[in-house]
């Protein structure tokens, strides 16, 4: 007899799963336990070059309270049912809302979406997992709190809890999200509820203002992990500055990345440029206004000659730096002078400010990201090839020009081997760079799917062989990346897993941990 489920968890009989579903329905009500193919369809679309069947869930649970989640983990322990937790569920290019392994139940916390507190004076927020950036943005506006959000490019439809738990990045001075996280509430696999840091102490009012608490700092082990289910999350917000000056700097040659990085690093480390600067390749920015098919057809990666035509037609540099200054007008004026002097020294840079490029679509969306405004314009990347295939290749690099050039050249060379384009950018951290490459391919074309998979695999292999690690990866490659960090770390991860979740019910496979 055909199963009534579209998938079943590994090693769980249909009879046991039936029993678990009955209990889930008792806890949540019928409408919040989804099992039909139609209800689950939105969870099955991924952008990865593997069959979506490999990541098809068995059911989705829409919980809204801590107590419900405590009861759910009890049922999961009883029947050994694995659950994959999502908050806003828009981890696009990293696995979307689908679980790491076929048959896992998705615990979808999108409806657990109360904004618990936003403190204007201390500039922090405490939210539940389902809160989107749009919801928080509207709340801040409505209550005139004068605080800015630091968001990933999918702004409106993503949220602070999921983004920070996956250690994502934004583009304001608070761009390294996890640095600004302060206090979590976590449901553990045994049903206990932990509040991290100062939150562990009854009646404490410093949970969202002091990160470290007492004893070993625990928040980190709940990021990119499967040790708990985060149900409340605190983080700091940036007070809206009196003035904001976004700008772009264009360069014409790929080797100029060396000069760019050498110029930016001291400005970034000293805080003259305070935000997560982006150095975007022409092919990352082009899709905002250009169509690939207007420049090339047929197989193979786009030739440099076509890229140069695009740069000319769409007023792009081969590298496009986006950064901003924040503060009082006086502070900005002083820092602007320092920035201008630094970049104009070699005569290669073209500096553009709002006066020149206010109308430019790429500049506009970058400026929005740097001041916490909503935009989804970066999704134009997916119109470049078409076909909806994408994986983020995200190796970490030193903020050193010679290193970024090496990484760029190696990435481009491997992509070219598989006929794919270099849609890359560097996001400048405090000392590092997140080298972010959107490996775009047509998921409707089986040949490109195969090529994209092999290409990504080779990128990981070649980069790790040179000591370049990736900071985050899609669910199809989590084991491979975990392997590159060596056996000692893997063992520690496993030891913690066994101690905190002996039945392995929480998101098995996340970051290669089971």
């Amino acid at each position: 007899m055909a199963s009534k489920y579209i998938a079943l968890p590994k090693g769980v009989s249909e009879k046991d799963f039936d029993a678990a579903i009955v209990k889930f329905r008792e806890i949540l009500g019928n409408d919040s336990v989804l099992t039909s193919a139609e209800q689950l369809a939105p969870y099955t679309k991924t952008m990865m070059p593997v069959s979506d069947a490999e990541h098809t869930l068995s059911a989705a649970l829409l919980a809204t309270t801590v107590e419900q989640i405590q009861k759910i983990v009890a049922v999961c322990n009883q029947y050994k049912v694995p659950i994959w937790t999502i908050s806003t569920g828009k981890n696009l290019g990293y696995g979307s809302a689908a679980p790491a392994e076929r048959g896992q139940v998705v615990l979808d916390l999108k409806r657990m979406n109360r904004i618990l507190e936003v403190d204007k004076d201390l500039a922090f927020a405490l939210v539940e997992p389902g809160v989107t950036y749009q919801q928080l943005y509207d709340y801040i506006k409505e209550h005139k709190l004068g605080l800015w959000l630091s968001m990933p490019a999918p702004t409106a439809i993503a949220g602070p809890v999921g983004n920070t738990l996956d250690r994502g990045v934004g583009y304001t001075p608070y761009g390294e999200q996890f640095l600004f996280a302060c206090g979590m509430e976590v449901v553990l696999a045994n049903g206990e509820v932990l509040r991290t840091g100062m939150g562990s102490m009854p009646n404490s009012n410093t949970w969202q203002v002091f990160k470290w608490g007492y004893g070993p700092y625990l928040d980190g082990i709940f990021t990119q992990s499967n040790y708990g289910i985060v149900t409340k999350f605190g983080f700091w917000l940036m007070p809206a500055p009196p003035a904001f000056k976004p700008f772009a700097i264009q360069y014409q040659h790929e080797e100029d990345i060396v000069e760019i990085v050498e110029t930016i690093r001291p400005l970034r480390i000293s805080g003259v440029i305070p935000n997560a600067v982006v150095i975007a390749h022409a092919l990352y920015e082009a899709p905002v206004t250009a169509k690939r098919s207007d420049y090339v057809s047929g197989p193979g990666s786009i030739p440099d000659e076509a890229v140069h035509r695009i740069m000319k037609d769409h007023k792009l540099g081969i590298w496009n730096v986006y950064a901003a200054l924040y503060g009082t007008q006086e502070q900005i004026d002083v820092n602007w002078k320092i920035v201008m002097e630094a970049f104009l020294r070699s005569g290669k840079a073209k500096i553009l400010t709002e006066e020149e490029v206010a109308e430019d679509a790429a500049f506009t969306y970058r400026a929005k990201l740097m001041c916490g405004e909503m935009t989804l314009t970066e999704f134009s990347l997916y119109n470049w090839r078409g076909g909806g295939g994408s994986m983020w290749f995200a190796p970490v690099s030193q903020a050193r020009g010679s290193e970024t050039l090496k990484q760029m050249a190696l990435t481009k060379q491997i992509l070219a081997k598989y006929g794919l384009d270099y849609s890359g950018e560097f996001i400048v951290g405090m000392r590092d760079m997140h080298h972010i490459v959107d490996v775009l391919y047509d998921k409707t074309d089986p040949e490109q799917v195969k090529a994209a998979y092999q290409c990504f695999d080779e990128l990981l292999t070649e980069f790790s062989a040179r000591g370049y690690g990736t900071y985050r990866v899609n669910t199809a490659f989590m084991d491979k990346v975990a392997e590159t960090y060596g056996p000692v770390q893997r063992n520690i991860h496993k030891t913690l897993k066994k101690a905190l979740d002996p039945n392995g019910i929480l998101a098995p496979g996340k970051s290669g941990i089971r």
């Binding site: 989705a60 569920g89 749009q134 439809i157």
Partner: protein
């Protein structure tokens, strides 16, 4: 008046006891009630428009697209467009959204 007060404090005791195992009570927050969409226009403006009015997706207003088609695309996603789950846009709100989009120009 007195009875009312008594009742209220009895209720407080029970709910506090229920949360005792956590040692803190939810009363420390005065949270908002949780998020619900107002109407189709709001969803369009705060989700769809960021792509469909920004050259990422095609124009979908004023084309009288069939309601069932809009609902299907929102739930399944299509190529560059992500899928939206019922936890994000509930069925009732999606029906309102689809009606809003498929209306004739004059009705927007």
């Amino acid at each position: 008046m007195k009875r009312l007060k008594l009742k209220a404090s009895a209720f407080f005791f029970i709910s506090a006891a229920m949360l005792m195992n956590n040692a803190w009570s939810e009363q420390e927050y005065k949270p908002d009630a949780g998020f619900v969409w107002k109407d189709g226009a709001e969803i369009y403006a705060k989700v769809c428009a960021y792509c469909h009015e920004a050259n990422v997706g095609p124009k979908i207003l004023n084309r009288e697209l069939p309601v069932a088609y809009i609902r299907a695309i929102v739930r399944s996603g299509i190529l560059a467009m992500p899928a939206f789950r019922s936890s994000e846009i509930d069925d009732e709100s999606l029906a309102k959204l689809a009606n809003f989009i498929s209306q004739k120009a004059s009705q927007h």
